[in-house]
Symmetry: C2
Subunit: 330 residues, 2 copies
């Protein structure tokens, strides 16, 4: 074999090896570095039989916040876009909204004025748009909206704006015997119609905020009717409560991005044995948004301090993620 | 080959075939007949690819009541035995109970007098015994009780008194791609510590009644504290609500035994496509208990009428089940 052919063969072997390594990388949208390493080291430890950190498969529970962790939450929660679109759609049936706060402002296109009423205004908007129909009807409304509505900045469907690195992380954990759950402050019934297709997370593994429902026997058969009354707020101290109610055991890994996830991370990481706490830090003003301690949405302040004290993994979105959204992949 | 050897070989082949058939019967504690046939026909239809009744695996959700469906509920709900044992254990810390209704009667051994106060008395007993500790502490209390307490009639551990035919049915459904859930009027946290070991149903697939819990950060770390306040009653109209809240999609098969399960069966069987409704009828006074329309526990009246109208499968315990409990197997 002459030297040129030998060099060519070596080059071929290297190329093949490199491309195999790339194909085999379950977190290929993550830059190499301590963040990616910390995830893979945790998974290796809890899945190695005989290791002192080994966790049996049924106990490999991982919980994920949604807004700001699996998809963005700027310039406002995506569910609020849904609610505003519903106000417009329902307005013809509610002539009184033309002169009622906060609906009048909304219908004039002044979202800021509408939301200036704070929690009370948001609650009124949510109840007017999320209650008063059967659960089956609401599921259809959400399904139709998700298939058509587009984000004002990117022009993409909201479900196209999920974070590619987090999709890879979800799949990687499941390949390693984890059961993945969403534990979100968002509405449980707003998420369930699409989480299976978008995240691979079935409805029974979605935990969220809820309004009350009631069983009714109608002429056409039984229905569940959505009532304009808060049932449960799955945020802050509510997250461990929601986890306990729905999952019934403590997760070994928790993924969030804001102070609303602090108690979920505290509860998860305080369990016995190896645990994993993880925060997405929104540091990428160019490709996504950059915000933390002073943001009115997804404020990350106390949880960031505690992450440093506790040694939780903090993702620097700008430096740790090769791409943000699936549509940016090669 | 002479005729004797030939006959012997034939006999051997027959024996082998018969024992193989028996080993392969997933419902071997069920007598052959229409009940067993209806179960197996349903499973065959929804699992046959290309059949018009085919149901994809993620939608194969089966829900089971617990008391009277997976284990007995006589002479009173097993959770009430637990509560009474807890009253005795806690009495030294509650000297006031010696003169307080309903505790005084209980401590004198007069259960009937104690329960004569109806729902109010039961609620007081439940709150005194199920609240005021952390979720972790309560789990340990239940685990210890289940490992030691025995049924007054059989002398067996309560978890030894699960129905063998129903254990086979649970396993058979799971082997056919079903996800099995408990949907019980009993306490969710009273069941979760042992359902995985006894029924193969993990905590996240248990739905039940609950009291409120609250998150607290203590010196030793975060805890969830059980409060003396009803959160949710998972019975009658509550069962479809609990199913929707925890599972988020409509089951295709529902298994119950009393009027408390009627709405769950209505909700399940009103869905599109092939559905399966199933009731255990307690007809076996000798091996278990016989009761239905007039029973104060597990009354089966309206649901029995509707089962006949709707064509739901009704198990005649005396005739359909070869054995009741696992300890009666050969």
């Amino acid at each position: 074999m002459n030297a040129r052919i030998f060099a060519l063969l070596i080059a071929l072997v290297f190329t093949a090896t490199a491309s195999m390594a790339q194909a085999a990388d379950p977190l290929s949208s993550w830059n190499d570095g301590p963040t990616k390493q910390s995830i893979m080291a945790f998974v290796a430890k809890v899945t190695t039989v005989g290791s002192s950190d080994f966790v049996p498969e049924p106990e490999r529970i991982a919980v994920f916040d949604n807004d700001g962790t699996l998809w963005p939450e700027q310039p406002m929660y995506f569910q609020l876009f849904f609610a505003l679109d519903r106000v417009k759609a329902l307005a013809p049936q509610h002539p009184e909204w033309e002169t009622t706060v906060p609906f009048a402002s909304l219908l004039k296109g002044d979202v800021k004025a509408a939301l200036s009423g704070g929690e009370k205004a948001i609650l009124e908007i949510v109840m007017a748009t999320h209650a008063g129909m059967t659960t089956t009807e609401f599921e259809q409304i959400v399904t139709d909206w998700v298939a058509a509505a587009r984000h004002p900045k990117t022009g993409k469907l909201f479900t196209e704006m999920v974070y590619q690195p987090m999709l890879e992380l979800l799949a990687y954990l499941r390949e390693n015997g984890f059961k993945t759950f969403i534990v979100s402050g968002g509405g449980i019934e707003f998420m369930r119609p699409w989480t299976e297709a978008v995240y691979g997370i079935p409805p029974e593994q979605v935990v969220g905020s809820s309004i009350k429902t009631t069983f009714e026997m109608r002429e056409g058969g039984p229905v569940l009717v959505r009532l304009p009354e808060i049932d449960f707020i799955d945020d802050k101290e509510g997250k461990p409560v929601g986890i306990h109610s729905h999952i019934g055991r403590r997760p070994i890994a928790a993924f969030g991005n804001s102070d609303g996830d602090l108690q979920m991370l505290q509860w998860t990481t305080a369990g016995d044995g190896l645990r994993f706490g993880f925060l997405v830090h929104h540091t990428d003003a160019e490709r996504e948004w950059a915000y933390d301690r002073d943001s009115h949405i997804g404020r990350l302040d106390k949880a960031l301090n505690e992450a440093r004290q506790q040694g939780w993994t903090v993702v620097d979105m700008q430096n740790d993620w090769k791409v943000i959204y699936p549509f940016q992949k090669d």
